[in-house]
């Protein structure tokens, strides 16, 4: 009985203030409250609220057969609780239907697994606790920032009681038969590994953004067919679609024409005999692993270093990350919840992504030079903040 797993990533980094060297020691407010409020307000109306309403309607209409998973980051939860609680209320109502699973991750969408195993585990626990408190669910599916994966990470997840791990990659590994199968990590006994179907995820994303602009969206039937076709060809078990809620959500609002698309897609899929929307935890329970995948750090398709080039590949990113995690001991010594919260906020991977210089000239040509204008400006701003934070820790 083949299935489709629809998973939306809901994540936004906290926008940091423009912080010059001359601000150091003068004030310690790093969060740009005005910008965060403004942008979250925009997105609430243009994306999150209408998209949440649409999904709720589909769940109610399908009597629970339409199911969706959310990878909701701690950074996003923080923003919603501070500026727009109604967004969180929307997610709570979705959770109440029983058709929604929330994934677990390192709370601030961090790269802590690279630098501090202790911090990594604490962040996973902190995020789990938030999900429990907010939605009354005990999350059992884990995913890492940017869907990064390795044997070691799988080991941590299993040890912490997860039953499924959602990741990207696998091509070229012995035993790999395509993304639509359930695998077992090499050193794990229970944990199941689910892989994102990159091509279909990318196609849907393209459909949402391009299709609505051109006014000629592909018919939902065509996509449903592609999904079925993909499963038929590979003999696979489940297609995992992992989409960004913000980019997709913007196009799910009624005036974009895509709400019909998703409705039609869900109707098409639900119209197929023996076809189900499934949640990651259900998949892990239902399917036996097809093969074991052995993913050392440099295994192809999972190449952790390649995946990390955009967040930890250059001198600035490495310097900033090193300086950040060098503060761990001092932060812990303070035993101050506010200090810990700031340190964690500064771990959000987006800040390091902004420092990526690879392909920067091309991004400028596409008018996408990032929130700071250049990787260098973003590094300077970040380092100034870190310098101030480090000084407050010493005082």
């Amino acid at each position: 009985m083949p299935g489709i797993c629809l998973c939306f990533q809901v994540h936004r980094p906290v926008i940091l203030k423009r912080y010059t060297f001359f601000d150091i020691g003068r004030h310690h407010l790093y969060e740009d409250q005005e910008a965060n409020r403004r942008i979250l307000n925009q997105l609430a109306d243009s994306c999150y609220l209408p998209a949440n309403r649409l999904l709720l309607r589909l769940m109610e209409k399908s009597e629970g057969r339409f199911r969706v998973a959310f990878a909701l980051s701690g950074a996003m939860i923080h923003l919603c609780e501070k500026y727009r609680q109604d967004i969180m209320e929307g997610f709570r109502r979705l959770a109440d239907t029983g058709c929604v699973e929330f994934l677990n991750e390192a709370d601030p969408h961090s790269l802590a697994f690279l630098f501090s195993p202790r911090e990594f585990r604490e962040q996973i626990e902190a995020h789990k606790k938030k999900i429990q408190e907010l939605f009354g669910q005990n999350p059992t599916t884990f995913h890492c920032t940017d869907l990064i994966y390795s044997n070691e990470l799988a080991g941590v997840a299993e040890e912490m009681g997860h039953s499924a791990f959602l990741a990207e990659g696998g091509q070229g590994l012995p035993g790999f038969q395509g993304p639509d199968f359930v695998y077992q990590p090499a050193d794990c006994a229970r944990l199941k590994l689910l892989l994102r179907n990159y091509h279909l995820s990318a196609d849907i994303r393209l459909h949402f953004s391009d299709g609505s602009r051109n006014g000629h969206p592909f018919p939902a039937g065509w996509f449903a067919e592609r999904i079925l076709h993909s499963l038929e060809n590979s003999g696979g078990q489940v297609v995992n679609l992992f989409l960004d809620y913000e980019t997709s959500g913007k196009y799910l609002t009624p005036d974009r024409g895509n709400s019909e698309f998703l409705q039609a897609l869900s109707a098409e899929m639900l119209g197929q005999p023996d076809f189900h929307f499934q949640l990651p935890a259900e998949i892990a329970q239902r399917y036996d692993p097809q093969a074991r995948l052995d993913v050392t750090d440099s295994a192809s398709g999972f190449d952790i270093h390649r995946n990390l080039t955009t967040v930890a590949g250059n001198a600035m990113q490495q310097d900033a990350l090193r300086a950040l995690y060098d503060l761990e001991e001092a932060v812990r010594k303070r035993k101050d919840a506010d200090c810990l919260a700031i340190w964690r906020m500064l771990q959000t991977s987006d800040y390091f992504n902004y420092m990526c210089t690879e392909g920067f000239a091309d991004r400028v040509r596409r008018h996408d030079s990032g929130p700071y204008g250049s990787p260098y400006e973003s590094y300077i701003n970040y380092m100034n903040i870190l310098e101030d934070f480090s000084r407050t820790l010493q005082s």
Partner: protein
């Protein structure tokens, strides 16, 4: 080609650009006759055939027809200085009592031009035009390429005589140089030249937009060709060991000390940096009409101990100063292109450039600020001095980027423009 500067007869970026462009053009097999106001005939060892307008033998007919159809050109007795502030050549200026400036002492007729920027500039520009006509009569060529307003007269006259199409290459506008205190005579000459030329080349999109906005020229007639930079043959590496960058960090301003180059913003930012890093050394290299004012401002801020003025630098001194610098800052108020940041990068010096510059369109791996934002400028200066990872990454990327900014690319664009203009002009 008509230009006002060519190495070693130059005071700024115009000569550097003309030399780089013509070098690549001749490399592609297109010989260039380059006419400048004055050069020493004995000193000809260049990739172009350098023609000195000064002393160029003239006939009576050359003098008889300065009948340019140009209502805007008139002789004005004012202190015209297109690149304000370079008076160093003035002592070399030889003036004759003869009002037209023609010398007939050795039996031949010729002008004596200085090629300087001074009070007689408009007069020289006019005489240069007359010589251009004579050059056009005696030499054969396919296209006329003139650089900036000083050569508009010459380019138009040469076109009148030869019937060959004229391309006007804009390296700098009166609007860049003088802000809102523009000289109407120069503005008129620029506008007339761009209107009359068969095609206009601008050194950046920034300059192109300015031409469209302030001069009302049809944008379809303007092509953007970026400048480039080459490492000098006697490379600076030999200075690296002897006088390399030391313990004390050095921040450099290099350029004419004029309104256009924004020296005061550099000084204000320096004062802010020195409040937190009292050990940094600042150098202002160059000369210009604001120099005394700047020296006074430095004294007023009480930062003279860390702030040095070198005066005008040339040749190997420029490379030497780059080799000693940890950061180059170009805070220009309005910079059509700006070759110096490229030269700094070629010498492994990181750069902060003003967003109001053409070079910022092609240089991505540099820090960019609005020239008026002194806090931002100071913040960036501190970051370069304080964060080695920033410099390491930026220089790694910039050194890759600058390899692709080559005069050959600029010349290839120019040749493409020549072809289009010649095709449009039809067979001659």
């Amino acid at each position: 080609m008509f230009g006002w500067e060519f190495p070693p007869y130059m005071s700024g970026g115009l000569g550097t650009a003309c030399s780089g462009l013509t070098g690549a053009l001749t490399g592609f097999g297109h010989p260039v006759l380059f006419v400048i106001p004055h050069c020493d005939p004995a000193e000809e060892a260049s990739h172009v055939s350098l023609i000195s307008a000064s002393g160029f033998p003239l006939l009576e007919t050359d003098l008889a027809c300065p009948a340019l159809k140009n209502p805007d050109v008139r002789t004005v007795d004012s202190l015209l200085m297109p690149y304000t502030g370079d008076h160093r050549y003035r002592e070399r200026l030889k003036r004759r009592n003869d009002p037209e400036g023609t010398g007939t002492s050795s039996g031949t007729l010729s002008f004596d031009l200085s090629g300087n920027y001074g009070p007689d500039l408009m007069q020289e520009v006019r005489r240069f035009g007359m010589v251009a006509g004579a050059v056009a009569r005696r030499h054969s060529f396919d296209i006329i390429h003139a650089h900036d307003w000083m050569t508009v007269h010459a380019g138009l006259y040469a076109r009148e005589i030869s019937g060959k199409p004229l391309i006007l290459h804009i390296h700098s506008l009166e609007f860049d140089r003088s802000g809102n205190r523009i000289d109407p005579a120069i503005y008129d000459m620029e506008r007339h030249g761009m209107r009359a030329a068969d095609h206009v080349i601008a050194v950046s999109q920034y300059t192109k937009e300015m031409i469209v906005e302030h001069y009302g020229i049809d944008r379809r007639k303007i092509s953007v060709v970026y400048n480039a930079a080459t490492r000098h043959p006697d490379s600076i590496t030999r200075f690296d060991q002897s006088s390399g960058r030391g313990e004390i960090k050095t921040v450099l301003f290099l350029g004419r000390i004029t309104f256009q180059k924004g020296p005061e913003y550099f000084i204000e930012a320096a004062a802010r940096v020195l409040k937190v890093f009292p050990e940094v050394r600042f150098i202002m290299a160059g000369s210009g009409d604001l120099m005394n004012l700047m020296i006074e401002r430095v004294a007023e801020l009480g930062i003279g101990q860390n702030f040095h003025f070198t005066g005008f630098l040339r040749g190997s001194d420029v490379e030497r100063i780059f080799a000693r610098s940890d950061l180059y800052v170009m805070p220009s108020v309005s910079e059509p292109f700006g070759i110096a940041p490229l030269e700094a990068l070629l010498c492994d010096v990181p750069v902060i450039i003003s967003k109001q510059s053409g070079v910022s369109e092609i240089l991505h791996h540099a820090l960019k600020v609005n020239f008026w934002d002194i806090d931002e400028m100071a913040d960036n200066m501190i970051a370069v001095l304080k964060y080695p990872a920033l410099v390491k990454e930026m220089m790694l990327r910039a050194s890759e980027e600058i390899k692709r900014i080559r005069w050959q690319n600029s010349a290839a664009r120019v040749i493409g423009i020549y072809r289009r203009v010649l095709a449009a002009a039809g067979p001659t």
